[in-house]
Amino acid sequence: MINRYTYECPDCGSFLARWGHNALAFLQLVGQAVLLNLEAITFIPTMFRKRTWPEVMYQLFFAGIRSLPVLTVVALFTGMIFALQTGLELQKFGQEAQVGGAVTVVMLREMGPFMTGLIIAASVGASIGAQLGTMTVSEEIAALEIMSINPVRFLVMPRLIALCVMMPLLTLYTDVLSVAGGAIIATSQLQVGLQAYIDNSLQYATNKDLYTGLFKALCFGFIINMVACHQGLTTKGGAVGVGKSTRSTVVISFLVILITGFILTKIFYG
Protein backbone atom coordinates (compact mmCIF):
# COMPACT_ATOMS: atom_id res chain seq x y z
CA MET A 1 0.00 0.00 0.00
CA ILE A 2 1.36 3.40 -0.93
CA ASN A 3 1.74 5.84 1.94
CA ARG A 4 0.92 9.28 0.55
CA TYR A 5 0.74 11.02 3.92
CA THR A 6 2.79 14.19 3.85
CA TYR A 7 4.12 15.84 6.95
CA GLU A 8 2.57 19.27 7.18
CA CYS A 9 4.90 21.78 8.79
CA PRO A 10 2.90 24.00 11.15
CA ASP A 11 3.25 27.75 10.86
CA CYS A 12 5.87 28.85 13.32
CA GLY A 13 7.94 31.97 13.52
CA SER A 14 11.08 30.45 14.95
CA PHE A 15 13.83 29.77 12.42
CA LEU A 16 15.05 26.74 14.36
CA ALA A 17 11.53 25.30 14.67
CA ARG A 18 11.05 25.61 10.90
CA TRP A 19 14.32 23.76 10.31
CA GLY A 20 13.24 21.10 12.78
CA HIS A 21 9.91 20.57 11.03
CA ASN A 22 11.61 20.47 7.62
CA ALA A 23 14.04 17.87 8.96
CA LEU A 24 11.08 15.77 10.17
CA ALA A 25 9.41 16.09 6.78
CA PHE A 26 12.65 14.98 5.07
CA LEU A 27 13.05 11.99 7.40
CA GLN A 28 9.46 11.00 6.72
CA LEU A 29 10.10 11.02 2.97
CA VAL A 30 13.22 8.87 3.39
CA GLY A 31 11.28 6.46 5.60
CA GLN A 32 8.44 6.19 3.07
CA ALA A 33 10.87 5.53 0.21
CA VAL A 34 12.77 2.83 2.15
CA LEU A 35 9.54 1.14 3.29
CA LEU A 36 8.23 1.19 -0.27
CA ASN A 37 11.26 -0.74 -1.50
CA LEU A 38 11.24 -3.10 1.49
CA GLU A 39 7.61 -3.91 0.71
CA ALA A 40 8.65 -4.56 -2.90
CA ILE A 41 11.28 -7.03 -1.63
CA THR A 42 8.56 -9.02 0.15
CA PHE A 43 6.88 -9.53 -3.24
CA ILE A 44 10.01 -10.93 -4.96
CA PRO A 45 8.85 -14.56 -4.43
CA THR A 46 5.89 -13.77 -6.73
CA MET A 47 8.16 -12.80 -9.65
CA PHE A 48 7.99 -16.25 -11.27
CA ARG A 49 4.19 -16.23 -11.55
CA LYS A 50 3.00 -16.73 -15.10
CA ARG A 51 1.48 -13.24 -15.28
CA THR A 52 4.32 -11.41 -13.50
CA TRP A 53 7.31 -12.95 -15.25
CA PRO A 54 6.80 -11.18 -18.64
CA GLU A 55 6.78 -7.78 -16.91
CA VAL A 56 9.97 -8.66 -14.99
CA MET A 57 11.59 -9.74 -18.26
CA TYR A 58 10.52 -6.53 -19.99
CA GLN A 59 11.96 -4.41 -17.17
CA LEU A 60 15.22 -6.39 -17.31
CA PHE A 61 15.34 -5.70 -21.04
CA PHE A 62 14.46 -2.04 -20.60
CA ALA A 63 16.98 -1.39 -17.80
CA GLY A 64 19.71 -3.59 -19.26
CA ILE A 65 19.74 -4.05 -23.00
CA ARG A 66 18.33 -0.61 -23.83
CA SER A 67 21.13 1.00 -21.79
CA LEU A 68 23.95 -0.74 -23.65
CA PRO A 69 24.47 1.78 -26.50
CA VAL A 70 25.03 4.79 -24.24
CA LEU A 71 27.06 2.77 -21.75
CA THR A 72 29.28 1.45 -24.54
CA VAL A 73 30.22 4.92 -25.72
CA VAL A 74 30.65 6.39 -22.23
CA ALA A 75 32.67 3.44 -20.89
CA LEU A 76 34.99 3.24 -23.89
CA PHE A 77 35.72 6.96 -23.94
CA THR A 78 36.08 7.27 -20.17
CA GLY A 79 38.69 4.51 -20.23
CA MET A 80 40.47 6.24 -23.10
CA ILE A 81 40.41 9.68 -21.44
CA PHE A 82 41.56 8.29 -18.12
CA ALA A 83 44.37 6.28 -19.72
CA LEU A 84 45.53 9.28 -21.78
CA GLN A 85 45.56 11.72 -18.86
CA THR A 86 47.20 9.28 -16.46
CA GLY A 87 49.58 7.92 -19.07
CA LEU A 88 50.86 11.36 -20.08
CA GLU A 89 51.63 12.23 -16.45
CA LEU A 90 53.25 8.85 -15.82
CA GLN A 91 55.30 9.29 -18.99
CA LYS A 92 57.05 12.26 -17.37
CA PHE A 93 58.50 9.82 -14.84
CA GLY A 94 59.01 7.00 -17.33
CA GLN A 95 56.28 5.00 -15.64
CA GLU A 96 53.74 4.77 -18.47
CA ALA A 97 53.81 0.97 -18.16
CA GLN A 98 51.80 1.40 -14.94
CA VAL A 99 48.81 2.81 -16.79
CA GLY A 100 47.06 -0.58 -17.04
CA GLY A 101 46.96 -1.03 -13.27
CA ALA A 102 45.80 2.54 -12.70
CA VAL A 103 42.92 2.29 -15.17
CA THR A 104 41.79 -1.16 -14.07
CA VAL A 105 41.85 -0.51 -10.32
CA VAL A 106 40.06 2.85 -10.59
CA MET A 107 37.42 1.45 -12.92
CA LEU A 108 36.74 -1.67 -10.87
CA ARG A 109 36.63 0.10 -7.51
CA GLU A 110 34.99 3.43 -8.24
CA MET A 111 34.43 4.73 -11.70
CA GLY A 112 32.70 1.67 -13.15
CA PRO A 113 29.82 1.48 -10.63
CA PHE A 114 29.72 5.25 -10.25
CA MET A 115 29.43 6.04 -13.96
CA THR A 116 26.98 3.23 -14.56
CA GLY A 117 24.91 4.45 -11.61
CA LEU A 118 24.78 8.01 -12.93
CA ILE A 119 23.85 6.93 -16.45
CA ILE A 120 21.18 4.51 -15.27
CA ALA A 121 19.78 7.11 -12.84
CA ALA A 122 19.57 9.68 -15.63
CA SER A 123 18.04 7.30 -18.17
CA VAL A 124 16.18 4.41 -16.49
CA GLY A 125 15.54 6.21 -13.16
CA ALA A 126 14.18 9.30 -14.89
CA SER A 127 12.01 7.12 -17.10
CA ILE A 128 10.59 5.23 -14.10
CA GLY A 129 9.93 8.49 -12.24
CA ALA A 130 8.17 10.02 -15.25
CA GLN A 131 6.14 6.90 -16.04
CA LEU A 132 4.93 6.32 -12.48
CA GLY A 133 4.38 10.06 -12.06
CA THR A 134 2.20 10.19 -15.15
CA MET A 135 0.30 7.11 -13.97
CA THR A 136 -0.25 8.78 -10.60
CA VAL A 137 -1.61 12.07 -11.94
CA SER A 138 -3.79 10.30 -14.51
CA GLU A 139 -5.26 8.18 -11.69
CA GLU A 140 -3.98 4.88 -13.13
CA ILE A 141 -2.37 4.06 -9.77
CA ALA A 142 -5.64 4.83 -7.97
CA ALA A 143 -7.42 2.56 -10.48
CA LEU A 144 -5.02 -0.27 -9.63
CA GLU A 145 -5.65 0.23 -5.92
CA ILE A 146 -9.42 0.13 -6.39
CA MET A 147 -9.06 -3.08 -8.43
CA SER A 148 -7.21 -4.47 -5.36
CA ILE A 149 -3.99 -4.70 -7.38
CA ASN A 150 -1.11 -3.64 -5.17
CA PRO A 151 0.96 -1.12 -7.21
CA VAL A 152 4.05 -2.05 -5.21
CA ARG A 153 3.81 -5.67 -6.38
CA PHE A 154 2.59 -4.77 -9.86
CA LEU A 155 4.96 -1.89 -10.66
CA VAL A 156 7.74 -1.44 -8.08
CA MET A 157 8.85 -5.07 -7.61
CA PRO A 158 9.65 -5.79 -11.32
CA ARG A 159 11.65 -2.55 -11.55
CA LEU A 160 13.50 -3.34 -8.33
CA ILE A 161 14.53 -6.75 -9.66
CA ALA A 162 15.53 -5.27 -13.02
CA LEU A 163 17.75 -2.58 -11.51
CA CYS A 164 19.31 -4.80 -8.84
CA VAL A 165 20.13 -7.53 -11.39
CA MET A 166 21.19 -5.26 -14.24
CA MET A 167 23.29 -2.71 -12.35
CA PRO A 168 26.06 -5.21 -11.41
CA LEU A 169 25.97 -6.73 -14.92
CA LEU A 170 26.11 -3.34 -16.61
CA THR A 171 28.91 -2.29 -14.28
CA LEU A 172 30.90 -5.35 -15.28
CA TYR A 173 30.31 -4.40 -18.91
CA THR A 174 31.44 -0.82 -18.21
CA ASP A 175 34.55 -2.10 -16.41
CA VAL A 176 35.55 -4.34 -19.31
CA LEU A 177 34.99 -1.67 -21.95
CA SER A 178 36.79 1.03 -19.95
CA VAL A 179 39.83 -1.18 -19.52
CA ALA A 180 39.66 -1.99 -23.24
CA GLY A 181 39.49 1.74 -24.01
CA GLY A 182 42.55 2.24 -21.83
CA ALA A 183 44.33 -0.51 -23.73
CA ILE A 184 43.63 1.21 -27.05
CA ILE A 185 45.26 4.42 -25.80
CA ALA A 186 48.11 2.60 -24.06
CA THR A 187 49.08 0.73 -27.23
CA SER A 188 48.45 3.53 -29.72
CA GLN A 189 49.52 6.67 -27.81
CA LEU A 190 51.77 5.59 -24.94
CA GLN A 191 53.77 2.84 -26.67
CA VAL A 192 52.84 0.31 -24.01
CA GLY A 193 52.45 -3.22 -25.33
CA LEU A 194 49.11 -4.95 -24.97
CA GLN A 195 50.59 -7.84 -22.98
CA ALA A 196 52.38 -5.39 -20.67
CA TYR A 197 49.09 -3.50 -20.18
CA ILE A 198 47.23 -6.72 -19.31
CA ASP A 199 49.99 -7.98 -17.02
CA ASN A 200 50.11 -4.65 -15.18
CA SER A 201 46.32 -4.64 -14.83
CA LEU A 202 46.26 -8.14 -13.38
CA GLN A 203 49.17 -7.36 -11.07
CA TYR A 204 47.36 -4.50 -9.33
CA ALA A 205 43.66 -5.40 -9.58
CA THR A 206 42.38 -7.82 -6.94
CA ASN A 207 39.21 -9.86 -6.61
CA LYS A 208 38.17 -7.54 -3.78
CA ASP A 209 38.22 -4.58 -6.19
CA LEU A 210 35.81 -6.41 -8.45
CA TYR A 211 33.46 -7.61 -5.70
CA THR A 212 33.25 -4.27 -3.91
CA GLY A 213 32.55 -2.53 -7.23
CA LEU A 214 29.75 -4.94 -8.06
CA PHE A 215 28.34 -4.67 -4.53
CA LYS A 216 28.30 -0.88 -4.93
CA ALA A 217 26.48 -1.30 -8.22
CA LEU A 218 23.85 -3.46 -6.51
CA CYS A 219 23.35 -0.78 -3.83
CA PHE A 220 23.10 1.92 -6.51
CA GLY A 221 20.44 -0.10 -8.33
CA PHE A 222 18.42 -0.34 -5.12
CA ILE A 223 18.84 3.41 -4.54
CA ILE A 224 17.79 4.39 -8.08
CA ASN A 225 14.65 2.26 -7.87
CA MET A 226 13.83 3.53 -4.39
CA VAL A 227 14.12 7.19 -5.36
CA ALA A 228 12.44 6.85 -8.78
CA CYS A 229 9.46 4.81 -7.59
CA HIS A 230 8.88 6.98 -4.53
CA GLN A 231 9.11 10.20 -6.49
CA GLY A 232 6.81 8.82 -9.19
CA LEU A 233 4.17 7.40 -6.87
CA THR A 234 3.97 10.59 -4.78
CA THR A 235 3.68 12.95 -7.75
CA LYS A 236 1.14 15.74 -7.40
CA GLY A 237 -0.01 18.47 -9.73
CA GLY A 238 -0.31 17.29 -13.34
CA ALA A 239 2.36 17.76 -15.98
CA VAL A 240 4.35 20.19 -13.85
CA GLY A 241 4.38 17.63 -11.04
CA VAL A 242 5.64 14.91 -13.38
CA GLY A 243 8.45 17.24 -14.49
CA LYS A 244 9.38 17.93 -10.86
CA SER A 245 9.34 14.22 -10.01
CA THR A 246 11.58 13.38 -12.95
CA ARG A 247 14.04 16.10 -12.04
CA SER A 248 14.00 15.12 -8.36
CA THR A 249 14.58 11.48 -9.28
CA VAL A 250 17.78 12.34 -11.14
CA VAL A 251 19.09 14.92 -8.65
CA ILE A 252 18.35 12.87 -5.51
CA SER A 253 19.69 9.67 -7.09
CA PHE A 254 22.96 11.43 -8.04
CA LEU A 255 23.42 12.79 -4.53
CA VAL A 256 22.57 9.55 -2.74
CA ILE A 257 24.80 7.53 -5.11
CA LEU A 258 27.71 9.89 -4.43
CA ILE A 259 27.29 9.81 -0.66
CA THR A 260 26.67 6.05 -0.54
CA GLY A 261 29.69 5.46 -2.79
CA PHE A 262 31.90 7.36 -0.36
CA ILE A 263 30.50 5.50 2.67
CA LEU A 264 31.03 2.09 1.03
CA THR A 265 34.57 3.02 -0.02
CA LYS A 266 35.29 4.08 3.55
CA ILE A 267 33.89 0.78 4.86
CA PHE A 268 35.83 -1.42 2.43
CA TYR A 269 39.08 0.53 2.13
CA GLY A 270 39.05 3.09 4.96
Binding site: S138, I146, M147, I149
Partner: protein, 256 residues
Protein backbone atom coordinates in the same frame (compact mmCIF):
# COMPACT_ATOMS: atom_id res chain seq x y z
CA UNK B 1 -25.72 0.50 1.29
CA UNK B 2 -23.36 3.46 1.60
CA UNK B 3 -23.60 5.73 4.64
CA UNK B 4 -21.79 8.99 5.28
CA UNK B 5 -21.98 10.15 8.90
CA UNK B 6 -20.90 13.74 9.47
CA UNK B 7 -17.85 13.33 7.20
CA UNK B 8 -15.44 16.25 7.20
CA UNK B 9 -12.35 16.62 5.06
CA UNK B 10 -9.69 19.30 5.07
CA UNK B 11 -6.75 19.79 2.73
CA UNK B 12 -3.95 21.81 4.36
CA UNK B 13 -6.46 23.28 6.81
CA UNK B 14 -8.92 24.22 4.06
CA UNK B 15 -12.30 22.50 4.54
CA UNK B 16 -13.67 20.69 1.48
CA UNK B 17 -16.34 18.52 3.10
CA UNK B 18 -18.09 20.19 6.04
CA UNK B 19 -20.07 17.44 7.72
CA UNK B 20 -21.52 15.36 4.93
CA UNK B 21 -24.38 13.08 6.04
CA UNK B 22 -26.42 10.97 3.64
CA UNK B 23 -27.07 7.37 2.72
CA UNK B 24 -27.45 5.52 -0.58
CA UNK B 25 -29.71 2.50 -0.71
CA UNK B 26 -28.77 -0.78 -2.34
CA UNK B 27 -29.64 -0.88 -6.06
CA UNK B 28 -30.21 2.87 -6.20
CA UNK B 29 -28.71 5.24 -8.78
CA UNK B 30 -27.80 8.57 -7.28
CA UNK B 31 -26.15 11.52 -9.00
CA UNK B 32 -23.96 13.95 -7.10
CA UNK B 33 -24.17 17.34 -8.81
CA UNK B 34 -22.68 20.69 -7.98
CA UNK B 35 -20.23 23.32 -9.11
CA UNK B 36 -16.49 22.65 -9.35
CA UNK B 37 -14.94 22.45 -5.91
CA UNK B 38 -18.21 21.45 -4.25
CA UNK B 39 -16.62 18.19 -3.09
CA UNK B 40 -18.22 15.66 -5.45
CA UNK B 41 -15.10 13.75 -6.48
CA UNK B 42 -13.68 13.99 -2.96
CA UNK B 43 -16.91 12.38 -1.73
CA UNK B 44 -16.71 9.32 -3.99
CA UNK B 45 -12.98 8.92 -3.36
CA UNK B 46 -13.85 8.58 0.34
CA UNK B 47 -16.16 5.65 -0.51
CA UNK B 48 -13.18 3.55 -1.64
CA UNK B 49 -10.77 5.13 0.83
CA UNK B 50 -8.62 6.75 -1.80
CA UNK B 51 -8.98 9.60 0.68
CA UNK B 52 -9.44 9.40 4.45
CA UNK B 53 -11.80 11.82 6.18
CA UNK B 54 -10.52 14.30 8.72
CA UNK B 55 -13.45 13.21 10.93
CA UNK B 56 -16.71 11.30 10.60
CA UNK B 57 -17.50 7.73 9.59
CA UNK B 58 -18.20 5.98 6.27
CA UNK B 59 -19.95 2.60 6.27
CA UNK B 60 -20.26 0.22 3.32
CA UNK B 61 -22.97 -2.41 3.81
CA UNK B 62 -22.92 -1.58 7.52
CA UNK B 63 -19.13 -2.00 7.81
CA UNK B 64 -17.11 0.99 8.98
CA UNK B 65 -14.22 1.18 6.49
CA UNK B 66 -12.30 3.84 8.36
CA UNK B 67 -9.85 1.69 10.29
CA UNK B 68 -9.69 -1.37 8.06
CA UNK B 69 -6.19 -2.82 7.54
CA UNK B 70 -4.98 -2.97 3.92
CA UNK B 71 -5.97 -6.63 3.28
CA UNK B 72 -9.49 -6.01 4.63
CA UNK B 73 -9.69 -2.83 2.61
CA UNK B 74 -8.91 -4.87 -0.52
CA UNK B 75 -11.92 -7.09 0.26
CA UNK B 76 -14.20 -4.03 0.56
CA UNK B 77 -12.78 -2.45 -2.59
CA UNK B 78 -13.68 -5.58 -4.56
CA UNK B 79 -17.31 -4.55 -4.09
CA UNK B 80 -16.63 -1.46 -6.19
CA UNK B 81 -16.16 -0.64 -9.83
CA UNK B 82 -14.82 2.85 -10.54
CA UNK B 83 -14.96 4.78 -13.80
CA UNK B 84 -12.43 7.59 -13.55
CA UNK B 85 -12.85 10.96 -15.20
CA UNK B 86 -9.91 10.27 -17.53
CA UNK B 87 -10.74 6.55 -17.76
CA UNK B 88 -7.34 5.67 -16.15
CA UNK B 89 -6.61 2.86 -18.61
CA UNK B 90 -3.05 1.54 -18.50
CA UNK B 91 -1.49 3.03 -21.60
CA UNK B 92 0.83 0.15 -22.53
CA UNK B 93 -1.94 -2.45 -22.51
CA UNK B 94 -4.56 -3.06 -25.18
CA UNK B 95 -8.21 -2.38 -24.40
CA UNK B 96 -8.75 -6.14 -24.01
CA UNK B 97 -5.85 -6.55 -21.56
CA UNK B 98 -6.98 -3.50 -19.58
CA UNK B 99 -10.40 -5.05 -19.10
CA UNK B 100 -8.93 -8.47 -18.31
CA UNK B 101 -6.45 -6.99 -15.81
CA UNK B 102 -8.60 -7.14 -12.62
CA UNK B 103 -9.64 -10.70 -13.47
CA UNK B 104 -6.09 -11.85 -14.17
CA UNK B 105 -4.61 -10.17 -11.11
CA UNK B 106 -7.23 -10.74 -8.45
CA UNK B 107 -9.29 -13.78 -9.46
CA UNK B 108 -8.02 -17.28 -9.96
CA UNK B 109 -9.92 -17.91 -13.19
CA UNK B 110 -8.69 -19.95 -16.14
CA UNK B 111 -7.64 -17.83 -19.10
CA UNK B 112 -10.44 -19.08 -21.38
CA UNK B 113 -13.04 -18.03 -18.81
CA UNK B 114 -11.39 -14.60 -18.55
CA UNK B 115 -11.48 -14.28 -22.34
CA UNK B 116 -15.19 -15.12 -22.34
CA UNK B 117 -16.01 -12.56 -19.65
CA UNK B 118 -14.03 -9.81 -21.36
CA UNK B 119 -15.65 -10.52 -24.73
CA UNK B 120 -19.05 -10.38 -23.07
CA UNK B 121 -18.50 -6.93 -21.51
CA UNK B 122 -16.88 -5.67 -24.71
CA UNK B 123 -20.09 -6.56 -26.52
CA UNK B 124 -22.15 -4.77 -23.85
CA UNK B 125 -20.24 -1.53 -24.38
CA UNK B 126 -20.00 -2.09 -28.16
CA UNK B 127 -16.21 -2.15 -28.18
CA UNK B 128 -15.48 -5.54 -29.70
CA UNK B 129 -13.73 -4.08 -32.73
CA UNK B 130 -11.40 -1.92 -30.63
CA UNK B 131 -10.30 -4.75 -28.33
CA UNK B 132 -6.75 -4.95 -29.67
CA UNK B 133 -6.16 -1.20 -29.83
CA UNK B 134 -4.13 0.78 -27.32
CA UNK B 135 -5.98 3.43 -25.27
CA UNK B 136 -4.04 6.20 -27.05
CA UNK B 137 -5.42 5.00 -30.39
CA UNK B 138 -9.12 5.33 -29.52
CA UNK B 139 -11.39 8.35 -28.96
CA UNK B 140 -12.35 9.82 -25.57
CA UNK B 141 -15.83 8.29 -25.75
CA UNK B 142 -14.38 4.86 -26.53
CA UNK B 143 -11.93 5.22 -23.64
CA UNK B 144 -14.87 5.93 -21.32
CA UNK B 145 -16.65 2.83 -22.59
CA UNK B 146 -13.49 0.75 -22.13
CA UNK B 147 -13.14 2.15 -18.59
CA UNK B 148 -16.76 1.27 -17.96
CA UNK B 149 -16.19 -2.27 -19.22
CA UNK B 150 -13.21 -2.64 -16.89
CA UNK B 151 -15.30 -1.33 -13.98
CA UNK B 152 -18.08 -3.88 -14.53
CA UNK B 153 -16.08 -6.96 -15.59
CA UNK B 154 -15.60 -8.09 -11.99
CA UNK B 155 -19.39 -7.81 -11.42
CA UNK B 156 -19.17 -5.33 -8.52
CA UNK B 157 -22.05 -4.44 -6.19
CA UNK B 158 -21.41 -0.71 -6.41
CA UNK B 159 -20.38 1.37 -9.43
CA UNK B 160 -18.84 4.81 -9.01
CA UNK B 161 -18.70 7.13 -12.00
CA UNK B 162 -16.54 10.25 -11.87
CA UNK B 163 -17.74 12.67 -14.55
CA UNK B 164 -18.62 9.93 -17.07
CA UNK B 165 -19.72 12.42 -19.73
CA UNK B 166 -17.20 15.23 -19.23
CA UNK B 167 -15.30 16.21 -22.35
CA UNK B 168 -17.68 14.27 -24.60
CA UNK B 169 -20.01 15.62 -27.26
CA UNK B 170 -23.76 15.57 -26.45
CA UNK B 171 -24.47 12.56 -28.65
CA UNK B 172 -21.72 10.44 -27.08
CA UNK B 173 -22.79 11.70 -23.62
CA UNK B 174 -26.30 10.37 -24.15
CA UNK B 175 -24.82 7.06 -25.38
CA UNK B 176 -22.83 6.82 -22.13
CA UNK B 177 -25.99 7.68 -20.13
CA UNK B 178 -27.85 4.89 -21.89
CA UNK B 179 -24.98 2.52 -21.19
CA UNK B 180 -24.95 3.41 -17.49
CA UNK B 181 -28.68 2.87 -17.33
CA UNK B 182 -28.56 -0.43 -19.21
CA UNK B 183 -25.76 -1.76 -17.03
CA UNK B 184 -27.77 -0.71 -13.97
CA UNK B 185 -30.78 -2.61 -15.32
CA UNK B 186 -28.73 -5.70 -16.22
CA UNK B 187 -26.59 -5.93 -13.10
CA UNK B 188 -28.83 -4.33 -10.48
CA UNK B 189 -25.87 -2.50 -8.94
CA UNK B 190 -25.83 0.57 -6.74
CA UNK B 191 -24.57 3.47 -8.84
CA UNK B 192 -23.10 6.78 -7.74
CA UNK B 193 -22.57 9.25 -10.57
CA UNK B 194 -20.60 12.46 -10.14
CA UNK B 195 -21.58 14.88 -12.86
CA UNK B 196 -22.02 18.51 -13.90
CA UNK B 197 -24.36 17.39 -16.64
CA UNK B 198 -27.95 17.93 -15.42
CA UNK B 199 -29.51 16.17 -18.42
CA UNK B 200 -27.47 13.11 -17.54
CA UNK B 201 -28.38 13.36 -13.83
CA UNK B 202 -32.10 13.83 -14.54
CA UNK B 203 -32.33 10.96 -16.99
CA UNK B 204 -30.39 8.20 -15.22
CA UNK B 205 -30.93 8.88 -11.50
CA UNK B 206 -33.36 7.64 -8.88
CA UNK B 207 -32.22 10.54 -6.69
CA UNK B 208 -30.06 13.61 -7.17
CA UNK B 209 -27.90 15.15 -4.43
CA UNK B 210 -26.87 18.78 -4.81
CA UNK B 211 -23.52 19.44 -3.16
CA UNK B 212 -22.64 22.98 -2.23
CA UNK B 213 -19.58 24.12 -0.30
CA UNK B 214 -18.92 20.65 1.06
CA UNK B 215 -22.47 19.95 2.25
CA UNK B 216 -25.52 18.22 0.83
CA UNK B 217 -27.74 21.13 -0.01
CA UNK B 218 -30.63 19.10 -1.46
CA UNK B 219 -31.32 15.43 -2.04
CA UNK B 220 -34.46 14.35 -3.83
CA UNK B 221 -35.95 12.53 -6.82
CA UNK B 222 -35.36 14.16 -10.22
CA UNK B 223 -38.99 15.36 -10.33
CA UNK B 224 -38.73 16.97 -6.87
CA UNK B 225 -35.29 18.31 -7.74
CA UNK B 226 -36.77 20.24 -10.66
CA UNK B 227 -39.50 21.66 -8.39
CA UNK B 228 -37.07 22.56 -5.60
CA UNK B 229 -37.14 26.11 -4.30
CA UNK B 230 -33.62 25.76 -2.98
CA UNK B 231 -31.67 28.76 -4.35
CA UNK B 232 -28.52 26.71 -4.99
CA UNK B 233 -30.52 24.14 -6.99
CA UNK B 234 -32.43 26.70 -9.04
CA UNK B 235 -29.23 28.61 -9.86
CA UNK B 236 -27.58 25.38 -10.96
CA UNK B 237 -30.56 24.39 -13.14
CA UNK B 238 -30.78 27.88 -14.64
CA UNK B 239 -27.07 27.89 -15.44
CA UNK B 240 -27.67 24.90 -17.74
CA UNK B 241 -30.99 26.24 -19.08
CA UNK B 242 -32.88 23.26 -17.65
CA UNK B 243 -36.60 23.87 -17.76
CA UNK B 244 -38.70 23.03 -14.69
CA UNK B 245 -40.93 21.13 -17.13
CA UNK B 246 -38.03 19.04 -18.42
CA UNK B 247 -39.86 15.73 -18.17
CA UNK B 248 -43.01 17.13 -19.79
CA UNK B 249 -41.05 18.56 -22.68
CA UNK B 250 -38.71 15.58 -23.08
CA UNK B 251 -40.80 12.70 -21.82
CA UNK B 252 -38.77 10.25 -23.88
CA UNK B 253 -35.54 11.26 -22.12
CA UNK B 254 -36.21 9.58 -18.78
CA UNK B 255 -34.39 6.29 -18.64
CA UNK B 256 -35.24 5.17 -15.12
Amino acid sequence: MIEFKNVKKEFSGKPVLRGMTFSIEKGETISLVGTSGAGKTVTIKHMVRLLDPTSGRICIDGEDIQDLPSEELGRVRKKFGFLFQGSALLQWMSVFDNIALPLRETQKLPEDEIQEKVKSVLEKVDMTEAAKKLPADISGGMQKRAGLARAVVTEPDILLYDEPTSGLDPVTSRTIDKLIHDLQEDLGVTSVVVTHDMISALTISDRIAMLHQGEVSEISTPQDFLRSENKVVSNFLDSQCISRNFFDEFSDRKLT
